[in-house]
C-alpha cells in the first residue's frame, strides 16, 4: 500500500473510535469504551509503523507523498483540498503522538474507571488524537488550521471535563480563547503568504518561497511572525502561556497527553514544518528563538516556587517546549524534534506518576501537604525519579542526549546564539533544582498521614471531597478528580503504561547518539533537505563536549536541590526571606495573569458594559429610535392608534401611503 493510504487510515481509526463511543455511549458495557478507545489508538500506532516501513521502502529522495480525497475550499483562486502530506516529519510525529496516546489511553482505562463521564472521556480523548493526527498529517494550511483548532477544542472539552467545577470551566474558556488568538494568528499569517504564493498547499508553497519572497521581505516576516503567534499560543510560550498552568484542572492523564506530550508541542512541529519560510524570514526566526529562550527561563524560575505538583510539571513543560521552540527556530530541527519525543516520554511519565501520588493524597495536589511517600509508593517513586533524571538531563537518560544536542547546536552557530545557549544551560540548572525539589518534598522526609496509612495498606479517602482551589464542596453528580483514587502500585494497566514509558525515558536516547547512529537526524533529513541551516551540524567532538557540560550542570542542579531540601532543611525558608522581592515575583508568576487582566480583560468588559448601557440605551434607544419615532409620531396620529392595538390599520395605511408615493413618482417622471 502507498504511504498515503496508511496516512488516511491513521487519521480514520481514532475518528471511528470517537463516533463509536459517542453514538453508543448509553449501551456500552462497563469499561468497554476505554478498551475501544485504546484499540483505536493502537491501530493508529500500528498503521504509523506500517507507514514508516512503507516510507523506508523508498529512496530518501522520494519520501514525500501527497494524497487528496476531495475539494474542501477551492474556488476563486483558493486551492484548499482535503489532502495529506506523508513525509518523514509527519510520520515521525504520527508515531510519537499515537504511541504516547496509546499508553495514556491504557493508563486512563483504570484512572477513570469510577468516573461518571467514563464514556464521554474516551470519546473526547479519541477525538483529540484524531485532531492531533490530522494536524501533523495535513497537506495544506487550511487543513492544518482545522487540526489546530480541533486539538484546541478537544483540550477545552477535557480541561472542563468536570464541568460543575467553576475552576475547570474558567480554565477551559481561558485556554480556548487564547488558542483562538493563536488560530487567528495562523489564519492571518496564511493570508500574508497566500497573497504572494497564491496557494495554500504546503508542497507548492515551499517550492515557491525562494522565488516569490526576497530574504526578510516584509510580508514574509509578518506572515511568519503571525505563524509564531499561533505556535506560541498552542505551545504556551510567553506571553500567551497563562492558560497552561490553569489547564491542570483537567484529569491528570489529559495533562499528560495533551498538556505535556503532544498538543503543546504542535508549535514546534509548525515551525519545523514551515522551515523553508522561516529560513527566508530570519528576523521572525530570531524572534521565535528569543521567545523560546525567555519562556524556558521564566517558566523554570516559576517552577522553583509553585507548590501544586501538577503546576510545577506544567511550568516545566513550558520550559522544555521553550528549548524545542528555540531549537527549531535556529535550525536545529532534528535536535528539537528529538527532544520533543524524549520529552513526550518522560513528561508523560512524570504526570502519570504525579497522578498516582495525587491518588494516594485523595485528590490533594499541594507539595506542602506531601512528604515521605518513598516507602508507600515504591513503584511510583521509581518512575518519578526516572522521569526526573531524564528531565534534568542526567546521563545516560534520554533527556540528556536530546537537550544537549540542542545546546551544542546553538554554541556551534556562534555569535548571539551563544547567549541563547548559555541561557539554556542556566535553564538546565534550574530544571535540576525544581525537579528534585518536587521529588524530595513529595517522597523523602517524614511520611505524612496519608503515606503512613498507605504503608499499612489503607488508601486515604476524604470524608467530604472539596475543590482544593476554592474550598467548594465537590459535585458528585458530574464528578471530580477521584473518587477512585487509583495508585499505580495496585493497578496493572497503569503499571504497564508507566513501565513502558520509564524504559523509553531511560533508553529513548539511543535513537540519536552523536557519532554513533544519529538515527533521527538521518530519518528526518529528506524533509529538511532544502534547509541550509540543517546542514551546518556541529562536529561529533563539539557534541560530546556539550553533553559533558550538560551532565555536569544536571548533577549540579540536583546537588543544589539536595542541599536545600534534604541536607539542610530550612534553607528554603531562609532563602525565601532573604530574597523576598524575587519570591513575590515568582509566586505571582511574573504577574502575567494580572497584566493580561489589566490590558485585555478589563478593557473588553468595560467596553461591553459601555456598549450596553450607553451606546445601546442612550444612543440607539433614545436618540435614534426615539428621534425617528418622534418624527413619525408628530406627523401621524396613526402611530398612537397602532399603540392602542389598531396595528393592522396602521400598517395598511402605510402601505397605501407608500403606493401613493410610488405612483406619484412614476407618473410625474415618465
Amino acid at each position: 500500500m502507498a504511504p498515503t493510504t496508511f496516512g488516511w487510515l491513521i487519521i480514520l481509526c481514532p475518528a471511528v473510535g470517537t463516533m463509536l463511543i459517542a453514538l453508543s455511549f448509553k449501551r456500552l458495557p462497563a469499561r468497554s469504551a476505554g478498551w475501544i478507545g485504546t484499540a483505536a489508538i493502537a491501530a493508529s500506532f500500528g498503521l504509523s509503523i506500517a507507514a514508516l516501513l512503507a516510507l523506508l521502502g523508498h529512496t530518501p529522495d522520494h519520501r514525500e507523498f501527497t494524497s487528496t480525497i476531495w475539494s474542501y475550499d477551492s474556488s476563486v483562486g483558493v486551492d484548499a483540498k482535503l489532502s495529506i502530506l506523508v513525509d518523514p516529519l509527519s510520520v515521525y510525529m504520527a508515531l510519537v503522538v499515537s504511541g504516547v496516546s496509546m499508553l495514556i489511553h491504557l493508563y486512563s482505562v483504570t484512572y477513570m474507571t469510577l468516573d461518571r463521564g467514563f464514556n464521554r472521556y474516551f470519546s473526547f480523548l479519541n477525538y483529540f488524537v484524531f485532531s492531533m493526527l490530522l494536524l501533523v498529517l495535513a497537506g495544506n494550511f487550511v487543513l492544518l488550521i482545522v487540526g489546530w483548532a480541533f486539538v484546541g477544542a478537544a483540550s477545552y472539552l477535557l480541561i472542563s471535563f468536570w464541568y460543575r467545577r467553576t475552576t475547570a470551566t474558567g480554565a477551559g474558556i481561558k485556554a480556548f480563547v487564547i488558542n483562538v488568538v493563536g488560530d487567528a494568528g495562523l489564519v492571518l499569517g496564511t493570508f500574508f503568504i497566500f497573497k504572494h504564493t497564491h496557494t495554500v498547499d504546503f508542497v507548492k508553497t515551499f517550492g515557491a518561497v525562494d522565488h516569490v519572497f526576497a530574504h526578510n521581505s516584509p510580508d514574509l516576516v509578518a506572515g511568519c511572525l503571525l505563524l509564531l503567534v499561533g505556535a506560541f499560543a498552542k505551545s504556551a510560550q510567553v506571553p500567551l502561556h497563562t492558560w497552561l498552568p490553569d489547564a491542570m484542572e483537567g484529569p491528570t492523564p489529559v495533562s499528560a497527553l495533551i498538556h505535556a506530550a503532544t498538543m503543546v508541542t504542535a508549535g514546534v512541529y509548525l515551525i519545523a514544518r514551515m522551515h523553508p519560510l522561516f529560513e527566508q524570514a530570519t528576523t521572525a526566526a530570531d524572534v521565535g528563538a528569543i521567545g523560546g529562550c525567555l519562556t524556558l527561563l521564566i517558566a523554570a524560575t516559576v517552577g522553583l516556587v509553585m507548590v501544586d505538583i501538577k503546576r510545577v510539571i506544567a511550568y516545566s513543560t513550558m520550559s522544555q517546549i521553550g528549548y524545542m521552540i528555540m531549537a527549531v527556530s535556529v535550525g536545529a530541527y532534528s535536535a528539537g524534534l528529538f527532544h520533543l519525543m524524549t520529552h513526550a516520554f518522560f513528561k508523560a511519565l512524570l504526570f502519570m506518576a504525579a497522578g498516582s501520588v495525587i491518588g494516594a493524597m485523595a485528590g490533594a495536589q499541594s507539595l506542602d501537604r506531601m512528604g515521605g511517600f518513598r516507602r508507600a509508593l515504591p513503584f511510583t517513586f521509581g518512575c518519578f525519579v526516572i522521569g526526573g533524571l531524564a528531565l534534568s538531563g542526567l546521563p545516560p537518560f534520554s533527556g540528556w542526549l536530546s537537550k544537549d544536542d540542542i545546546l551544542a547546536f546553538l554554541d556551534h552557530r556562534g555569535g548571539g546564539f551563544i547567549i541563547l545557549g548559555i541561557a539554556g544551560y542556566v535553564g538546565a540548572l534550574l530544571t535540576g533544582i525544581y525537579t528534585f525539589r518536587m521529588i524530595f518534598r513529595a517522597f523523602l522526609g517524614e511520611p505524612v498521614e496519608e503515606a503512613r496509612e498507605l504503608e499499612h495498606g489503607h488508601l486515604h479517602h476524604a470524608d467530604v471531597p472539596r475543590n482544593p482551589m476554592t474550598g467548594e464542596e465537590e459535585d458528585t453528580d458530574v464528578g471530580f478528580p477521584g473518587p477512585g483514587h487509583f495508585i499505580a502500585e495496585r493497578e496493572l494497566p497503569m503499571k504497564v503504561a508507566m513501565s513502558v514509558l520509564a524504559v523509553l525515558a531511560i533508553v529513548g536516547g539511543v535513537l540519536q547518539i552523536p557519532g554513533v547512529d544519529a538515527g533521527i537526524e538521518r530519518f528526518l533529513s529528506p524533509t529538511f533537505a532544502d534547509s541550509h541551516l540543517a546542514k551546518e551540524l556541529p562536529s561529533t567532538r563539539a557534541d560530546w563536549i556539550g553533553l559533558a557540560i550538560g551532565a555536569l550542570i544536571a548533577i549540579g542542579g540536583i546537588a543544589v536541590a539536595y542541599r536545600v531540601w534534604v541536607a539542610a532543611p530550612g534553607t528554603a525558608t531562609r532563602l525565601r526571606e532573604r530574597l523576598a522581592p524575587v519570591y513575590t515575583l515568582l509566586i505571582n508568576k511574573w504577574y502575567f495573569d494580572e497584566l493580561i487582566d489589566l490590558v485585555v480583560v478589563r478593557p473588553s468588559l468595560w467596553v461591553g458594559r459601555f456598549a450596553q448601557s450607553v451606546l445601546e440605551r442612550v444612543v440607539i434607544g433614545d436618540v435614534v429610535t426615539g428621534g425617528t419615532t418622534g418624527i413619525v409620531r408628530a406627523g401621524s396620529a396613526a402611530v398612537r392608534r397602532a399603540q392602542t392595538g389598531f396595528l393592522r390599520y396602521y400598517a395598511a395605511l402605510m402601505i397605501v401611503c407608500l403606493t401613493g408615493v410610488a405612483l406619484y413618482f412614476l407618473i410625474s417622471s415618465s
Binding site: G77, V146, A149, F150, L157, Y163, R164, L615
Partner: protein
C-alpha cells in the same frame, strides 16, 4: 415544474389549511406541506447546472407592460442555495410550531405561509419592482406575528419594527423607481425594471451615488447593522421562537442578498465609491454587537447581537469587492442561517429547563442528564464561533481573505471580532450547560419533537463542515460576474475612476460587461 409553484405553494397550503383543516390539525398540515415545499426546493438544487453564470429555470411574463415591470423569476448561483435554506428553516420552524399550541392557529399559520412565499419570492425575483414588492410583502406577516403572538413588550417591539422597516422600504421603493426611470431617461430606452436589462443600462455617477445610499439604508435596516438596529433588541425579544428563527435565519439574509443581486451589479461605481464607508459600518457593527453580546445576560440577546456581528462579517465580504469575499459572504449567509436558527431553538429548549427564564444567570448545569442536548449545543456553539473545521470558518476565511486583499488594515482589525466571538459563544454554552445548577433548573434530556427540529439542522451543519465546497461550487460562476464590474473599477484606483467621469456611455463598457 416552475419556480412559481415553489414560491406560491406555501401560501396555498396555509390558505387551504386555514380554510379546510380542522383546528387541531392545521399545524401538522402546514408543517407537512412545508416539507413538500422543501422537497421541491431541493429538486431545483439537484437539477441546477453547475458552472453556468446565467439564470436557470426562468419564468418571464410581462406584468405591468406600461411600466416595464416583469414577473420574472430565476435561479442562479447567488440564490439557489438560499432558496433551499429558506425552505429548510421554514420547515424546521413549522415543525417546531406544530408541536405547540397557538391562539388563533389558523391565522398564525396563514401568516407563516405568506411569509415563506414572500421570502422565496424575494430570493427568486429577477425584476427590481417585483423584488421590492416581495420585500415589502415579506415584512407584513412579521408585523402581525410579533404584534399578535409576541411576548413581553410586543406593542413597543411592533411599533419599532414597523417604523424602522417601513422607513427603509420607503427609501428602497424610491430608489428602485428612480433606477428604472433614470436608466431609461439617461439611455433613451423604454422603461424597464428587469435586472438583466438594467445591467446593460448603467446610470451616471451622481445617480448611482444617491440611489446606492437609499438601497443601503433599506438593506442595513433590514439586516440590521449599526446604527440602524434600534428595532432589533425589542423585536427579537418579543417574537415567538419559530418566528425569530426564520426572521434571523433567512429574512435578514434577503437584505445581504440584495446587495449582491442589485447593488453591486447595477451600481458598481457607487459600490467602489462607498466601499470604505460600508466596510467601516460593517466593522463598527462587528465590534458594537460583540461588545453587547459580551456582557448581556439574556441568552436570546447573545444570539441576536451575535447575528448583527455575523451580518457585519457578511457585509465585509460583500464590500471587499473581491470574488473571495463574495463567495465567503454567500457561504456565510447559509452557515449563519443554519446556526442562528439552531441557536434560537436551543435558547427555547434551555429556557424550558430553567423555569422559563431566558436569563443566563438562571441557567447552569443543564448538561447533566442531557448529554444529547449538550452535544447538539456544543456543535452549534463551535460552528457559531466559526471554529476551523466548521463550515462557518470557511465562510469567514474567504470573507477575511477578500477583505485582506482589498483593505488589509480592516481585515486585521476584524480578526479581533473573530476572537471575541469565541468568548461570547462559549460563555453562553458554559453558563447555561456547565457550572453549578441554577435555582430553578430541571436537568432533562431534549424531547423528541425538539430533537427532530434541531438535529436535522445540526446534520446539515456537519455535512457542510466536511464539504463546504458544496455551496462554493454552485455560486462561483455567478458570483464572479456579479462582483466583476466593481472589482475592475476598484482595481483601477481612484485616479482612473475619477477620469471615467459622469458619462454613462464611457462607463458602460466596464459596468455592463458581466451581465447575462
Amino acid at each position: 415544474m416552475t419556480l412559481s409553484i415553489l414560491i406560491w405553494l406555501p401560501l396555498a397550503i396555509s390558505l387551504v389549511a386555514a380554510l379546510l383543516a380542522p383546528r387541531a390539525l392545521v399545524g401538522r398540515f402546514v408543517a407537512i406541506g412545508s416539507l413538500v415545499t422543501l422537497g421541491i426546493a431541493i429538486s431545483f438544487l439537484v437539477r441546477f447546472k453547475l458552472g453556468h453564470a446565467g439564470l436557470q429555470f426562468v419564468t418571464d411574463k410581462v406584468w405591468i407592460s406600461a411600466l416595464g415591470i416583469h414577473y420574472k423569476l430565476g435561479l442562479d448561483g447567488l440564490n439557489v442555495a438560499l432558496v433551499v435554506l429558506t425552505a429548510l428553516l421554514f420547515s424546521a420552524s413549522l415543525v417546531w410550531s406544530a408541536f405547540r399550541e397557538w391562539e388563533r392557529a389558523r391565522v398564525f399559520y396563514f401568516f407563516f405561509g405568506l411569509a415563506e412565499s414572500a421570502v422565496l419570492g424575494a430570493f427568486c425575483a429577477q425584476d427590481l419592482a417585483l423584488f421590492v414588492a416581495f420585500f415589502d410583502l415579506m415584512l407584513i406577516p412579521f408585523y402581525f406575528m410579533v404584534g399578535m403572538w409576541g411576548t413581553g413588550e410586543r406593542v413597543r417591539a411592533t411599533t419599532k419594527l414597523v417604523i424602522y422597516t417601513l422607513v427603509g422600504s420607503f427609501f428602497m421603493l424610491a430608489a428602485a423607481i428612480a433606477t428604472g426611470v433614470l436608466a431609461s431617461s439617461q439611455h433613451g430606452t423604454p422603461i424597464t425594471f428587469v435586472l438583466s436589462s438594467l445591467r446593460a443600462l448603467p446610470l451616471s455617477r451622481d445617480s448611482q451615488e444617491w440611489i446606492f445610499l437609499c438601497f443601503a439604508v433599506a438593506f442595513l435596516v433590514k439586516m440590521p447593522l449599526v446604527p440602524f438596529h434600534g428595532w432589533l433588541a425589542d423585536g427579537y425579544k418579543a417574537m415567538p421562537i419559530p418566528v425569530v428563527a426564520v426572521f434571523s435565519g433567512v429574512v435578514a439574509k434577503v437584505a445581504a442578498y440584495g446587495f449582491l443581486r442589485i447593488v453591486l451589479p447595477l451600481f458598481p461605481y457607487a459600490s467602489v465609491h462607498f466601499q470604505t464607508l460600508m466596510l467601516l459600518i460593517a466593522l463598527v457593527s462587528i465590534f458594537w454587537a460583540t461588545a453587547v453580546a459580551f456582557t448581556t445576560s439574556d441568552a436570546r440577546m447573545v444570539v441576536a447581537y451575535s447575528s448583527i456581528a455575523q451580518l457585519g462579517f457578511i457585509t465585509l465580504g460583500i464590500f471587499s469587492l473581491r470574488p473571495e469575499g463574495g463567495q465567503g459572504a454567500l457561504l456565510q449567509m447559509l452557515n449563519h442561517g443554519l446556526v442562528t436558527a439552531a441557536a434560537f431553538f436551543i435558547v427555547a429548549v434551555l429556557a424550558g429547563r430553567a423555569g422559563g427564564s431566558e436569563d443566563l444567570r438562571d441557567m447552569g448545569g443543564i448538561a447533566f442528564r442531557a448529554p444529547v442536548l449538550a452535544s447538539l449545543f456544543v456543535i452549534v456553539a463551535f460552528a457559531w464561533l466559526a471554529m476551523p473545521g466548521s463550515p462557518n470558518f470557511i465562510g469567514e476565511f474567504m470573507i477575511l481573505l477578500g477583505t485582506f486583499q482589498s483593505k488589509l488594515a480592516i481585515a486585521v482589525i476584524a480578526f479581533a471580532g473573530v476572537i471575541a466571538a469565541s468568548y461570547y459563544a462559549l460563555r453562553m454554552y458554559i453558563t447555561s450547560m456547565h457550572n453549578r445548577a441554577g435555582r430553578e433548573v430541571a436537568s432533562r434530556e431534549i424531547v423528541v419533537p425538539d430533537f427532530a427540529v434541531i438535529a436535522p439542522i445540526v446534520v446539515v451543519i456537519l455535512v457542510f463542515a466536511f464539504y463546504p465546497q458544496f455551496g462554493l461550487r454552485r455560486s462561483e460562476a455567478t458570483l464572479k460576474t456579479t462582483v466583476a464590474p466593481a472589482q475592475v473599477l476598484a482595481a483601477r484606483g481612484p485616479g482612473a475612476r475619477a477620469a471615467i467621469g459622469a458619462g454613462g456611455t464611457a462607463y458602460a463598457r466596464v459596468g455592463g460587461g458581466g451581465g447575462p
